[in-house]
Subunit: 557 residues, 2 copies
């Protein structure tokens, strides 16, 4: 009780100070934990109780994320958000995988590093936005949408990581465990969901507040235990239970919140504090190079790739950069993956220590970027080469009418478009699986088979993109382009080509990886240069005085 009291009191002071300094509470917790922990002052010697409560904290956090989350809400998220979310995750996962590859790590460790590096902290971002009263800003809605999507993926990814423990180094463990996790989730949510939900609603009618809290804590803990029996992380089980549990808006949901929210708050604080206690000062020397390598990479990925995706999806430049900066904080998922990996003995002490310092660095730096996004934009805008800017605007003009369609407009056309978007998502998902499969496949035959399947899928994808882009022609806002005139046909074709070339390049890289290794990555700048060149050609063509080309004149009328 002494340890608990001391840890909580200093945790409070640390968090309070962090908030005062415009930082996230997580920074305060980690610092306090590290200072009080056995590797520094040693005030907190035995952390067994704290660790148990911390574990409960992460499970409660995931339960509440599950309650907040709903497939309905995910479906309502704008296409723009999905585009940014998917792209952002792929880019960040790649950073982790590639760095792990470059360091010669095992596949399992690479997978953990990728997850740790990739998942932004929805908790930190949401709290900072509220703290700074920025929830009404244009970037806030997009950020929260991306976070909803990322929460979902983060839980799925947890399933992948859990799967890695069982199979070890057998063939394509990632694919198997991904499928296993998806199957488990689908089973629970699809079949078990309705029956379980009815049972839970019955249980919610318990009159006594005391017994109510007891029951729900028991259910959440047991959902975690159940998931770990299925080879999944406890957090994933709690998330699923949260998805089944009544939504926050209902009376019963309100009751869950009022009774259990402070358990989550306190135990989660203990999670961060305990994580801090496990950091070793000496480890910093060992992992500092890695932190200095990956943290700038992650920040660049967010500022360049995520912001670009946001711009392409139709957000204005400054807002796009604010979205990118908003994705910089790391937190609960990174720490959760690291703690999970260490618990199962899948990752070494260095990766665990790295995670602590990495989360600390990213979350510490994030507020500076988030606050100065506008100034950053001005600098970047000046530095941007004109072909690159024009290429971006070309794609943005095409995508904007598509991605920014409001959900509330429920005409037939939008519903059909949404159906199309769902089909898109499915195709992209299949593609990502193929990509992962190609990376994991050992024999050349397997890779070639996957390449063949991939090419077929790609053909479908390309056709789907063109069909999706067709009805957009009338909505194009060509006045955004700096050229006096532009041909909508060509604008759409350009975007379709770029969109199709990205998965093609990814697939080729995956297939060639085992033979050629990272050299394959050189294809990406080459591809980018090619597209920039094409954009520049269009720019010059449309800037010339009007020729007597009858088609382009007709299309402009």
């Amino acid at each position: 009780m002494r340890d608990l009291g001391v840890l909580l009191l200093f945790g409070f002071l640390g968090a309070w100070l962090a908030v005062r300094l415009g930082q996230s509470v997580i920074i305060g917790y980690i610092v306090i934990g590290a200072v009080l922990g056995p590797h520094a002052l040693g005030v907190i010697a035995d952390a067994a109780l704290m660790r148990a409560l911390a574990e409960l904290g992460i499970v409660l956090l995931m339960f509440f994320l599950g309650v907040e989350f709903s497939l309905e809400r995910l479906r309502r998220v704008r296409a723009a958000v999905l585009l940014i979310g998917v792209g952002e995750l792929l880019a960040n996962l790649s950073v982790g995988f590639l760095v792990g590859y470059a360091l010669g790590w095992s596949l399992v460790e690479r997978a953990f590093l990728a997850g740790i590096v990739a998942m932004s902290s929805s908790g930190v971002v949401a709290k900072l936005l509220i703290e700074w009263r920025r929830t009404a800003n244009p970037e806030a809605e997009a950020l929260m949408g991306i976070m909803i999507f990322e929460d979902f993926i983060a839980v799925l990814y947890l399933g992948v990581l859990a799967g890695l423990s069982g199979e070890g180094a057998r063939a394509s463990p990632a694919v198997v465990s991904l499928l296993k996790a998806v199957a488990f989730y689908a089973l629970i949510l699809g079949l078990g969901g309705k029956g379980l939900a009815r049972l839970l609603t019955l249980a919610l009618r318990v009159r006594s507040e005391e017994l109510f809290a007891l029951l729900w804590l028991a259910l959440i803990a047991l959902a975690g235990v159940g998931a770990s029996l299925f080879g999944l992380a406890p957090a994933a089980g709690a998330f699923l239970l949260g998805m089944i549990a009544p939504a926050r808006q209902s009376d019963l949901g309100e009751r869950i919140y009022s009774r259990l929210e402070s358990f989550r708050d306190v135990f989660l604080a203990l999670f961060f504090l305990t994580f801090g206690t496990m950091l070793e000062g000496e480890s910093l020397r060992r992992v500092l190079p890695l932190v200095l390598l990956i943290a700038p990479l992650s920040i660049l990925t967010e500022l360049v790739i995520t912001s670009s995706l946001a711009f392409l999806a139709g957000f204005s430049g400054p807002v796009a950069l604010a979205i990118g900066a908003g994705m910089i904080p790391r937190g609960e998922y990174a720490l959760l993956y690291a703690a999970f990996g260490q618990q199962l003995g899948l990752i070494g002490s260095d990766l665990f220590q790295f995670t602590g310092w990495y989360v600390f660095a990213m979350t510490l730096l994030a507020p500076a970027f988030m606050k100065n996004a506008r100034a950053l934009y001005r600098i970047l805008h000046r530095l941007m080469p004109r072909p690159v800017a024009f290429a971006g605007t070309l794609i943005s003009v095409t995508l904007q009418p598509m991605t920014m369609w409001s959900v509330t407009a429920n005409s037939r056309a939008t519903s059909r478009a949404r159906l199309g978007a769902a089909r898109h998502l499915l195709l992209w998902g299949a593609f990502v699986s193929l990509f992962l499969g190609a990376l994991a496949a050992r024999s050349l035959t397997e890779r070639m088979l996957l390449l063949a399947i991939g090419m077929m899928a790609l053909a479908g994808l390309s056709r789907a993109i063109r069909r999706a882009l067709e009805p957009i022609r009338e909505h194009l806002d060509l006045s955004r382009l700096p050229t006096p005139r532009a041909d909508p046909h060509s604008v759409i074709a350009y975007t379709a080509h770029v969109a199709s070339s990205v998965p093609l390049a990814a697939l080729l890289i995956a297939v060639g990886w085992n033979d050629l290794g990272p050299w394959m990555l050189l294809g990406i700048p080459l591809l980018a240069l090619f597209h920039f060149g094409r954009a520049w050609a269009w720019y010059r063509a449309w800037s010339r005085p009007i020729p007597t080309a009858p088609e382009s004149a007709a299309s402009r009328e």
Copy 2:
């Protein structure tokens, strides 16, 4: 986490079933704990985490009792309630002490047994009253008043028990530790209170709900730790913090409730459950005789002595019996004392096991008595010898106008009467200390010194009683007496004699104890017989046709 989940889920089921059967949840928790524990099914093997949380649960419970409690409220409690409370506690403590004495136990174990046997469970009673919708019944208010008083004494007693650990078997440890505890409490509440309260109010302004919960849990845990550094029980420290903390009615108090109440509920459930896990089925054979001896004694004490006191204080017969029956449940304090004693190694395993079964038996039987108090009253009424009934009515007639004065009447007379009551309380308190001192004193000289002091105090007490009774004469409701006429002078004198003879007898017993032992107790029935005889004499005198006695006629006009 598995153990926690299982324990909470089955705890919920057990408690839910207990409530369904009209029992207290405590019954459900203890049974479930015992069944799942290592001594039965063994589902819960390692209870280290649970024990730590359980400790926190009892500390939280005491904190909330402290918040609910206020000296203001204690002062507002009616004199009737104080009379019942003091008498009830003395009687119950005596049961424990005497049984312990008869079994040849050490003073420390006797003190623990007395506390375990004496303290009723305010939690159980309050919950049953709410559950049965009896909170508006006449006995409910009195019961809650007695409980407020008992909570306060129970914490003081905890200080006494804590003091026993340090001094061991040195001279008069009970007195020393009682004084130490009182001094500590007075220090904190008197001097520290105001300054600390201001600090706490500042701390309460923390905006974030998350940090608020963190801070208060930390403060509560550290208050417990602080108290144990001072040689007191952690629970006592938390109670004091609660007394200083803002009252429930304030906004800040509301916030404390909404954030921390479910921590208390869940951790307290864990306390009862863990207590259950520590019960051994085999131990029942060893402690059953003791349970079968003490449980009926306790029930009799409540039904006879507490009910009599309630009747004497002016409650009607059936209500008085309902009050007595309502004091039967045992719970948190008994278990708290037992857990505390075991932790410090002051009590043996048998006393610990006894506590579990005793609490179980008392709490299980209580609802039956509480529900059938009216029927019980009818039986007792028929069995009561007439002299006894008349003596009771005589005292009741005298005390009723005094004890039942409403607090809301704030005339000068009542305020002076209340001042008198406070002085009374002080005198009685001094008397109890003398009584305990006389019991503990080793040498004859010490005892004689105490006797001399006691006699002087008694003289003051006797005068105080007479002076307090004087202004009552006009308010006597003589119509309640079965005799056609009565002399108010004599009625008052009778009560004053009885009231003065009780402490006199107690003091004499205490002084003679070390030499004559329990034989001194024979004085009690003798004293009772003497008083009954005197009452009977008055009855016969007042039932005769009116003589020409001029004084009694004058007083009747």
